[in-house]
Symmetry: C2
Subunit: 297 residues, 2 copies
Amino acid sequence: MTFREDLKTYVENINKMLEQALDIMTGYADYLVDAMRYSVVGGGKRLRPLLMQESNKLFGEPSKELPYFMAALEFIHSYSLVHDDMPCIDNDEYRRGRKTTHAVYGETTALLAGDGLLNYAFETASKAFDITDDPAKCGRAMKILAKQAGIMGMIGGQAADVKAEKTGETMTEDMLLYIHENKTAAMIESALMIGACLNGAGDKELEDLCEIGSKLGLAFQIRDDILDIEGDFEQFGKPIGSDEENGKLTYVSLYGMEKAKEDVDRLSKEALDGLKRFNKRNEFLEELVVYLIDRNK
Amino acid sequence: MTFREDLKTYVENINKMLEQALDIMTGYADYLVDAMRYSVVGGGKRLRPLLMQESNKLFGEPSKELPYFMAALEFIHSYSLVHDDMPCIDNDEYRRGRKTTHAVYGETTALLAGDGLLNYAFETASKAFDITDDPAKCGRAMKILAKQAGIMGMIGGQAADVKAEKTGETMTEDMLLYIHENKTAAMIESALMIGACLNGAGDKELEDLCEIGSKLGLAFQIRDDILDIEGDFEQFGKPIGSDEENGKLTYVSLYGMEKAKEDVDRLSKEALDGLKRFNKRNEFLEELVVYLIDRNK
């Protein structure tokens, strides 16, 4: 199997798992489940669950608790996009080349679908306690998940980003790095750390993976900013130049294209080198890192 | 100590605990922490954490994990109010006699503050894994928390309620009970079940407490509907008659005032009888149930 074939299979399996997890009958709230499903199943690279799955492999055979946490992380990612796209934040009509949740279902349903997905993330992760032989390990994974997604992680980064945009305050280097570290990298770190945690990795290994995730996350975000300028709408799935049009300050506008590209190369190389230092190698994971940085969408 | 004195002390302790839990330094996201704190510390009966604390006492000495879950439940309750009040749902400017979060901080911040609180609820609960001797028990409590707050619980009820209001479809008895059972009662059930779970209660006891919580929750909601018609603005903290003005269908409008009052009495008596059947009695909890039903606000 080539990397591309493996990737395709893995993503298909993740998509199936996500659809199954969202196959819920509620009675009067079914329309909300539809909106939640629409928000999740419409594509996406499934980067975070993939990274979790592959990080888990660095420390042994696949853990049986893994699917619960992979789905949870993707639900959190999905909810953050649904709320981010809403009229009171970015007011985006398109995401990944298709209509955003509020554009299809209206603002009220999008608000509740985001809430529903965030809560369902923790509900799904908590089901791992039913099947685990090691509840302490699951508790540790739950704590990582919640912290990295929260006010000291993704939500904190989102809050800082939104404030900078809405108030038009001058973006400093420190502020931009805070936003990228928290809004983007925290969830990548979370993926790598939870995967490892579920296979019994120790504190030092989790720290190393957090640092690798931080570098990979920053490289990924800068690559996104570069694609917003140089990318192709068909490939990228959202209007090109939308950041610039919205007057949004990015890594590229702050440091220039040349340094941005250099930093992507340096950070992704450092992340790769970090991965290679573990006892067990995971070639797919290493190729995935390269793929994520070389992507055109 | 009288019931009222105990109640005052307990609520003060809960308020202190909530404020401590929200004493977080984030750097660029501090404005969001302010909005989260405003949404939580502005009063409220602290009914859910109180019920959890007292249900825990039915099964032994206070569990050390209790404060984490008490805070978590109140954060979930608070986030639900913040999002519920937003322009795209109820568009309420006042709650508990003070300005709602979006009225003070704007819609964008209110959206993120609600997200922040929901996530922080699970983050706070997950900290119990650091101090517990029984991670399986905490995992079980986490599962109850997530399920009762989610699409099969509170969010499901909220979704059904919002849909009925926005589409103006005819409210049936079945639909109204679904809404009350999920939107209101699910969190009361959660409080009683988690308190018991943290002191090692078995499945049968949790089932009984779920049923008691369901009755208490329904009685509490009907009492709320009655107060909306007969209450006093100063006491109740929101404009009287607002449900009627909004054309909102309630238990009272569906069944009439007389049956509503009869049902409150019957349901609260059944809840009380249920509580008295446990081996250990908790007089404060029994008085709390009476107090909640006799309240004027």
